[in-house]
């Protein structure tokens, strides 16, 4: 279990590195890959597993972004837990599920993050933050949500077919 968590953290740390250094920024808006992965994974595997992804991914982002450790983690946890808990009630066949989940997750992530920034760093101009960060980030994140979700679903189907068990 511990090794599994270490491997997960390592993988998400690489994701955070990629998100920080490699991913393109369309219209100067970064793509929140960690949030996308956590939400899509949560829609497939459930809120608890998604919370682990959000926690490790958030810590990795904190390390890469040089913010207070826990800031991104808490913001991601809030976004991922609430969005997956809300959206997972819908049918998984509905293609709007990932888009809606990612949209809710991004909005909550930014809301919590802006709150922490206000509390820890300096008061944030909410209207400016919404226009400069929340809306563009949400729109950009919604674009790859569906393809990523379909990849997760395909992977899940692939794994399920590869579970041979002895039945006597």
């Amino acid at each position: 279990m511990i090794m599994h968590d270490v491997a997960l953290f390592a993988a998400l740390f690489v994701v955070a590195l990629v998100q920080t250094a490699l991913l393109p920024r369309p219209f100067d808006v970064p793509i929140n890959l960690t949030l996308l992965l956590a939400v899509c994974h949560g829609l497939i595997a459930g809120t608890t597993s998604a919370a682990r992804w959000a926690f490790y991914g958030g810590l990795a982002l904190d390390l890469c972004a040089m913010t207070f450790i826990g800031t991104h983690a808490l913001a991601l946890l809030a976004g991922v837990i609430v969005s997956t808990a809300l959206v997972s009630r819908l049918s998984r066949e509905n293609w709007l599920v990932p888009i809606l989940g990612v949209a809710i997750g991004t909005i909550l992530y930014h809301a919590v993050y802006a709150l922490f920034l206000t509390l820890i760093v300096a008061p944030v101009d909410l209207q400016g933050y919404a226009l400069a960060a929340l809306v563009p980030d949400t729109l950009i994140a919604m674009i790859p949500a569906l393809p990523l979700y379909l990849v997760f679903r395909w992977n899940e189907d692939r794994v399920r077919r590869r579970v041979p068990v002895d039945v006597y």
Binding site: V18, T20, T47, T48, A50, A51, R52, T71, V165
Partner: protein, 296 residues
């Protein structure tokens, strides 16, 4: 017995809601600890390790970005290349047009020069076809009655440094085309003359292509003073006599060729003539529409 196990996700929230709460609490504690400065050294060490990796990755990212932008530049270059190709094609078309105009201009200048040197009004046109058989020497001229061409009119052309010379007579004229009987054809017979000082020697020019030579001047008196190198011109006898015959349209003094050989056969003197213009090679010619001898 092996069989795929039905796979069903258990509702995660029911599985371990405590874990979620625990993770949130841990994150909050970490944040509080870092805010309090307890994790500062640890965070700095982590930054020291991560920073070089991030720099390398950013360099790699910049390299990939440059590759992508270069691909974009290539696209722009390709688009520019296409535009230049289109422009090149347009310029080539214009060049061809300009060359055609220059060619036409040269022909018109040539026509003006001839009209200034001779009392003729000319109509220039292309020779668009030759007779397909080798037995006749006829060509199709790209002008007809609509342009004022009539049967019997003289057709001239120019070749090299030679003067404009007769190549044939309009035999039939349609609205837009006319068939021209070349002077080299066996059935072509045109009155001709040679100036020798104050004397004028007259005879008939006949095509001799089918016999191996080109033209022959015959029906000349044996004592006529003909010599090699003399210039043979049209006599325009029908025109002078104002006869209502097709040949009446052939004006006098249209150059034909030069005498190459003079022979006496029986009571006649015959001269072999090399025409100034090889009618078989002519691709553009002029019809003499009118001749005003008073202008001379």
């Amino acid at each position: 017995m092996l069989r795929d196990r039905p796979y069903c996700l258990s509702p995660p929230a029911r599985r371990s809601p405590m874990l979620v709460i625990l993770l949130v609490l841990i994150a909050a504690v970490l944040l509080a600890a870092d805010y309090a400065g307890l994790l500062g050294p640890l965070r700095l060490h982590a930054h020291a390790i991560i920073s070089p990796v991030l720099v390398r990755m950013q360099q790699a990212g910049a390299w990939v970005e440059s590759l992508i932008s270069q691909a974009g530049d290539d696209q722009a270059l390709l688009a520019e290349l296409e535009a230049l190709r289109a422009e090149n094609a347009d310029l080539k078309a214009r060049l061809i047009q300009a060359e055609a105009l220059e060619f036409e201009n040269a022909r018109l200048r040539e026509q003006v020069r001839i009209e200034q040197a001779y009392p003729w009004k000319l109509l220039g046109a292309d020779v668009i076809a030759l007779t397909p058989d080798t037995g006749r020497r006829l060509v199709l001229f790209a002008a007809g009655t609509d342009q004022g061409v009539r049967p019997g009119m003289a057709v001239i052309a120019r070749e090299g440094s030679n003067p404009p010379a007769l190549i044939g007579i309009v035999e039939e004229a349609g609205p837009r085309t006319a068939s021209v009987l070349l002077i080299t054809d066996y059935s072509s017979a045109i009155s001709a003359q040679v100036y020798r000082g104050t004397d004028v020697v007259r005879g008939v020019i006949q095509g001799q292509w089918q016999r191996g030579s080109r033209l022959i001047l015959h029906l000349v008196a044996r004592e006529a003073p003909l010599a090699v190198g003399d210039t043979v011109l049209t006599a325009g006898l029908s025109a002078e006599l104002a006869l209502n015959l097709p040949r009446a349209a052939v004006p006098p003094n249209v150059p034909i060729g030069v005498i190459e050989i003079v022979q006496d056969i029986g009571r006649d003197r015959i001269a072999g003539i090399r025409p100034f213009v090889d009618p078989d090679r002519v691709r553009y010619a002029w019809v003499i529409l009118t001749s005003d001898e008073s202008k001379k």
